[in-house]
């Protein structure tokens, strides 16, 4: 059996433990806490040790959904994206950016958060962007 260790950071609390995904044949088979990492120092809490399990949860959403006749149904990426872009453009043109709100996430990466606020400010012309830090 072969196994590669891919460095990552725990997705749960703000401690920011460093660990490795153990990857074998394109699948994650486990987690190894880093011994040299200044926070994890060779161990993880129970959540960190199991941080790979939800990735393969049967409840993962694996394709875009679009509401049709009141129900969410499977759709293509093109359809989901263009429908969103259209809806946002319509509100933007009619009501201005002030009528659009965006919620970013403390679970997403810096790059994602940066892009979302850029989308809000540069494209949708609104400062209505926030996330759950204050909650």
């Amino acid at each position: 059996m072969q196994m590669n260790h891919v460095p990552s950071v725990c997705c749960f609390c703000g401690c920011g433990c460093g660990f490795y995904f153990n990857v074998s044949d394109g699948r994650i088979t486990g987690i190894s806490p880093s011994r040299s990492h200044p926070v994890s120092r060779g161990n993880l809490c129970v959540k960190g040790w199991h941080a790979h399990e939800f990735v393969y949860s049967p409840n993962r959403l694996l394709h875009p959904l679009v509401r049709k006749n009141g129900r969410l149904v499977r759709a293509s990426w093109d359809e989901a994206l263009s429908r969103t872009a259209e809806a946002l453009r319509k509100v933007l043109e009619r009501e201005g950016g002030g009528a659009i709100g965006l919620l970013s996430s403390a679970k997403c990466t810096n790059e994602e958060n940066y892009l979302l606020q850029k989308l809000a400010r540069a494209v949708l012309k609104t400062n209505n962007v926030d996330h759950c830090a204050r909650l």
Binding site: I28, T29, I31, P33, V46
Partner: protein, 411 residues
């Protein structure tokens, strides 16, 4: 007679390159972040095989991964199950003695009695090349668990670092055939090599900085048990993270669950489990025979240091020291052994001093005030109670002996 040879350090890489053809070669590699982990060697020229330190984890996950699919099921047309059957040939290179000992323990768990097919298919195709430890690291105590720093058996080949060359011992026929397949790399052993190796082994044995008295702990547990206060202390500190079990090279407990991929298809998954987890023994109805945390820790430590000792004449802790210092509550196996050894010793002395004091007062030889003073002195200086009383002239050695005899008779 199994083979003994010498290989020059310069020839190790060419030898490993040969081994990596047709097999997955797994070796300790230092990565850019400063950790040394067992990795598959994709390119022997570009990965830094590091034999200078203990890898941060054992090789357990290569034979028994944290999570694996036992089989996939499909009930769409009747019931169909499929499972992977063949393991890839693998060479585990650079394993430390503790980690090899752990694999031997896993062999007992997974291959004695009903065979675990997933373990067996990997294990049977795995060649183990170990390296003895010339110098133990800070947390090592394999001397106390009889699983290092060098091994007598259990490996295919075992290397000893002699400076510019390795002393190579074969541990079984498969090791011999490795040497026979590539004779060009191996030189005969000289007397000087033998002498040097012997000396290194002796030096390594005396090089341990951490004393973990596993044998004494076993004896104390057998003779007097473990004081309840120790379990209470450990229980208030244990979070139940499971880290000590997951990092442990000999912890082999697992649980099984199904992970559906659709309504009638899915996988049956096996994943590591830990005896410190609440759900490890919880029944479907909610009853839990091993509760609270105190009992779970009792099971964990006694299993490693006592029950397995009774069965195998050695603990199932291999002294790798990886769990030391990583416990969130600071209660690892090293602390447990220390507490058992010191507490039961102290406890017994405490008890016997108090019993003696009571008997002496009952016999009318010493009055209460005098005895309390003597007990206080004992607590302060550690001098045995009898000696204090005799030195003070309160009792004679003869009287003391009489009272003590009486005590023995009573008990």
């Amino acid at each position: 007679m199994l083979k003994k040879k010498i290989i020059k350090k310069d020839h190790l890489k060419p030898f490993l390159r040969k081994l990596s053809k047709g097999s997955d070669l797994i070796a300790p590699v230092r990565n850019g972040l400063g950790d040394v982990l067992y990795e598959k060697i994709h390119s022997i020229d570009h990965q830094e095989i590091d034999l200078s330190t203990q890898p941060q984890e054992s090789a357990k996950a290569f034979l028994f991964p944290q999570s694996e699919a036992l089989y996939t099921y499909d009930c769409s047309q009747g019931y169909r199950f499929s499972q992977e059957k063949d393991g890839r040939p693998t060479v585990l290179f650079g394993l430390r003695s503790c980690d090899i000992s752990a694999i031997l323990y896993m062999d007992v768990i997974f291959m004695r009695g009903p065979k675990d097919l997933h373990y067996v298919r990997r294990r049977e195709k795995t060649i183990i090349i170990g390296i003895g430890c010339n110098k133990p690291w800070e947390n090592c105590f394999c001397n106390a668990t009889k699983s290092g720093p060098f091994l007598e058996f259990g490996f295919d080949l075992q290397l000893t670092d002699l400076g510019d060359r390795y002393f190579v011992e074969s541990g079984r026929a498969r090791g011999d055939s490795l040497i026979d397949n590539w004779p060009q790399f191996f030189l005969p052993v000289t007397e000087e090599d033998e002498r040097l190796r012997y000396q290194l082994v002796l030096e390594a044995r005396s090089g341990f900085t951490r004393q973990v008295h596993v044998d004494s702990a076993f004896n104390r547990i057998k003779d007097v048990g473990v004081d309840a206060s120790i379990w209470e202390h450990l229980a208030t500190r244990c979070d139940g993270c499971g880290g000590c079990a997951y990092i442990c090279p000999t912890c082999t407990c697992f649980t099984i669950f199904d992970r559906p991929t659709s309504r009638d298809k899915g996988q049956r998954i096996r994943t590591w489990d830990s005896c410190t987890h609440l759900g490890f023994t919880e029944m479907a109805g909610g009853a839990n025979p091993v509760n609270p945390q105190r009992d779970r820790l009792k099971r964990r430590f006694l299993h490693k240091l006592y029950y397995d000792y009774l069965e195998f004449k050695r603990p199932s802790c291999v002294g790798c020291g990886r769990c030391l210092g990583i416990c969130f509550g600071g209660v690892d196996i090293g602390l447990f052994v220390e507490l058992v050894c010191s507490n039961s010793k102290k406890g017994r002395e405490e008890d016997s001093a108090n019993i003696l004091a009571k008997l002496l007062v009952e016999a009318g030889l010493v009055d209460q005030e005098e005895i309390e003073e003597a007990l206080a002195q004992r607590a302060k200086t550690g001098t045995p109670l009898g000696k204090i009383l005799v030195e003070k002239g309160l009792v004679t050695k003869g009287q003391l002996a009489e009272v003590l005899m009486e005590k023995v008779e009573k008990s």
